[in-house]
């Protein structure tokens, strides 16, 4: 009686299993890569077109690698319309709105998470229900209000609402995070005579970098991309944001696809840079939005 055949069978089956796992992995890598490529194609096409000469954009079948690669579309796009100004306007609106969102949403969330007051539950219920409210119902009176205030063609309609609560979803994210911090922190500070504001400002906020980053990213992306609000409130070209500027570009240079793609790339690139530097905060935020529905 020998053990050799038995060992050989074992080794063979182990090898077969290894081959199976490798095949399984290869299969899924191939599937995933195909999907990733398909999803990436439009953006690759965008960047590719932005480096083409005008003549090269009109080729069938299209060339993916421009020959020659030209960089002149970028400076030219900035010359064609005042894109630099749109860029700074967008940056200003985005940062001013985000500052307001971070401050007022976290303050409200602190009250909802840490303080006791009458109607706390119902009021938070109201906060949550506004997440589902379609913006369309408030559109016209809000426009009339801003018109009466003489705020049309200023940045105020884009910025000021963000300083009044910063949106239900931001409050929700902050509250969820504050609830995870131990209450003993507040109590210890209170024993030392700290006021509620001091507890919020000196104790909770410094511990809340992750959620601050998450809300900031969502606010930046939202305001950077927003098209509808500036479309309604900004009229003179020197006030335009990039979203509006890009749209006007389309009307002015409807066949200069290379210029349009260069301008679009300028608008997208900062977002991609932000995304890749702060990816972790980003995903955790989206996952939290799933919890909001429960």
């Amino acid at each position: 009686m020998t053990v050799t055949p038995h060992a050989a069978v074992l080794a063979r089956s182990r090898r077969r299993r290894q081959i199976q796992t490798i095949a399984y992995q290869l299969f899924w890598y191939a599937v995933l890569s195909c999907i990733a490529l398909a999803l990436a194609l439009p953006l690759l096409w965008l960047v590719s077109t932005s480096f083409k000469t005008g003549a090269q954009t009109f080729l069938m079948p299209p060339k993916w690698i421009p020959q020659p690669i030209v960089f002149s579309n970028y400076p030219e796009a900035f010359r064609a319309v005042d894109f630099a100004r749109y860029f700074w306007n967008t940056l200003y609106v985005t940062l001013a709105s985000t500052a307001g969102t971070l401050l007022t949403a976290s303050l409200a969330a602190f009250a909802f998470a840490r303080l006791r007051f009458p109607l706390r539950g119902p009021l938070f219920g109201v906060v949550l229900s506004t997440i589902m409210l379609p913006g369309i119902v408030t559109l016209i009176p809000t426009f009339i209000l801003f018109r009466a205030l003489d705020w049309i063609d200023t940045f105020k309609p884009l910025v000021v609402p963000n300083w009044l609560g910063g949106g239900a979803f931001s409050i929700f994210l902050f509250r969820q995070f504050f609830m995870t911090l131990p209450l003993e922190l507040d109590e210890a500070a209170r024993v030392d005579g700290a006021s509620n504001f001091l507890i919020y400002w000196r104790i909770l906020l410094p511990l809340s970098t992750p959620v601050l980053a998450t809300v900031a990213i969502f606010s930046i992306i939202y305001n950077w991309n927003d098209f509808f609000t500036p479309l309604i409130y900004l009229q003179s070209p020197e006030k335009w944001t990039m979203a509006i500027g890009l749209q006007s570009f389309k009307d002015l240079y409807s066949t200069s696809w290379n210029l349009m793609m260069a301008a679009s790339t300028v608008m997208i690139a900062p977002l991609l840079a932000l995304f890749f530097t702060a990816q972790q905060y980003f995903t955790s935020g989206i996952q939290m939005s799933g919890i909001a529905g429960r």
Partner: protein, 323 residues
């Protein structure tokens, strides 16, 4: 939340008749009062925002919807006139039909693809995070930039879409110039932005306890069976949430149509919000546009309510286990 009443420093001995108990009570009450005052101070910005930019405008738009008002002329109360006009406006019904097409065909497809993507990036492989990132990135594209990019992709002569058709030997299509194809073209381009839903669904998949799968495997359930009996039921809350939010969003589809087709060709992409926008900001018919807004709000409300009702039948909350 418990808090000691003697929270703030030494109690100063005070001459007078007040007993320590009375003092304690006043102190506790003043602390509580301070807490409530601070709380309302802290939520004050939100309350103001809610009143000025939500509750106020909602009521105001309801009121305006009962008037005739062209901004420059004084408003006149007309009762339900605007709503009657809405019911008789053929173009409005067309815009509602276009919107419904986009919502009821686009959203389920979008969600289905997001689910497939989430399942694909839930596989345990080395480097899977990279794929998650790659799947997500297209969703970051700003709506305007995306609209212009897809205008280029759908270009009948030089666009990528027709180049792809040509590659597999199909004749070119007039995507955005063809009334039958413009809406499907919008639905197709939305497939590149499944990233957000994918991440939420992925979080849902990660939240399913591994023990469920282990138990099922021990009972000899196949991979298919595990998907149908465990994964899908436990994912229904996330699917339901995505469905609700996506439908509310899709009812308000605007930017693509505004930039890419301006409602054409032959009004085939005249979506509800685009029509409302034109009524309000091009024709300045504020009463009519407000009535339109309320009509859509009611449609969305009824529809969301129905979904919550029906959700009892298909959405499975883990809490149900404990009932």
């Amino acid at each position: 939340m418990r808090r000691s009443a003697a929270g703030g420093g030494p109690v100063t001995p005070r001459a007078g008749a007040m007993s320590w108990w009375m003092r304690l009570r006043t102190r506790r009450r003043s602390l509580l009062w301070a807490e409530q005052r601070d709380a309302y101070l802290f939520i004050l910005p939100w309350i103001l925002g809610f009143l000025i930019f939500l509750a106020g405008p909602m009521l105001a738009s309801l009121f305006i919807s009962f008037t005739r008002w062209e901004i420059v002329t004084p408003s006149r109360f007309v009762g339900f006139d605007q709503y009657v006009k809405i019911a008789q406006d053929d173009r409005l019904w067309l815009s509602l039909w276009n919107t419904a097409y986009y919502v009821f065909l686009g959203v389920p497809l979008h969600l289905f693809l997001a689910l497939l993507a989430a399942l694909a990036v839930n596989i345990n492989l080395r480097g899977i995070r990279l794929y998650r990132t790659l799947f997500y990135v297209p969703s970051l594209t700003p709506a305007v930039a995306n609209a212009i990019l897809w205008l280029w992709i759908f270009h009948p002569q030089w666009g990528l879409a027709n180049a792809a058709l040509d590659l597999v030997g199909l004749p070119p299509l007039f995507w955005l110039q063809d009334p039958r194809l413009a809406k499907p073209a919008f639905i197709i381009m939305s497939w590149w932005t499944i990233g957000g839903q994918m991440v939420i669904l992925l979080a849902g998949l990660k939240g399913i306890p591994a023990t469920f799968y282990e138990a099922a495997e021990m009972d000899g359930a196949s991979a298919w069976g595990r998907f149908w009996r465990i994964t899908l039921p436990l994912l229904t809350p996330a699917l339901f949430f995505n469905l609700i939010i996506a439908i509310i969003g899709a009812f308000q589809v605007f930017t693509q149509a505004f930039i890419m087709t301006e409602g054409g060709p032959n009004y085939s992409t005249l979506f509800y919000l685009l029509y409302l926008f034109r009524m309000a900001f091009e024709n300045f018919r504020m009463g009519y546009a407000s009535a339109m807004a309320w009509a859509l709000f009611l449609i969305i409300l009824i529809f969301t309510a129905i979904q919550f009702r029906v959700s009892d039948r298909w959405v499975f909350y883990e809490g149900d286990l404990r009932k």
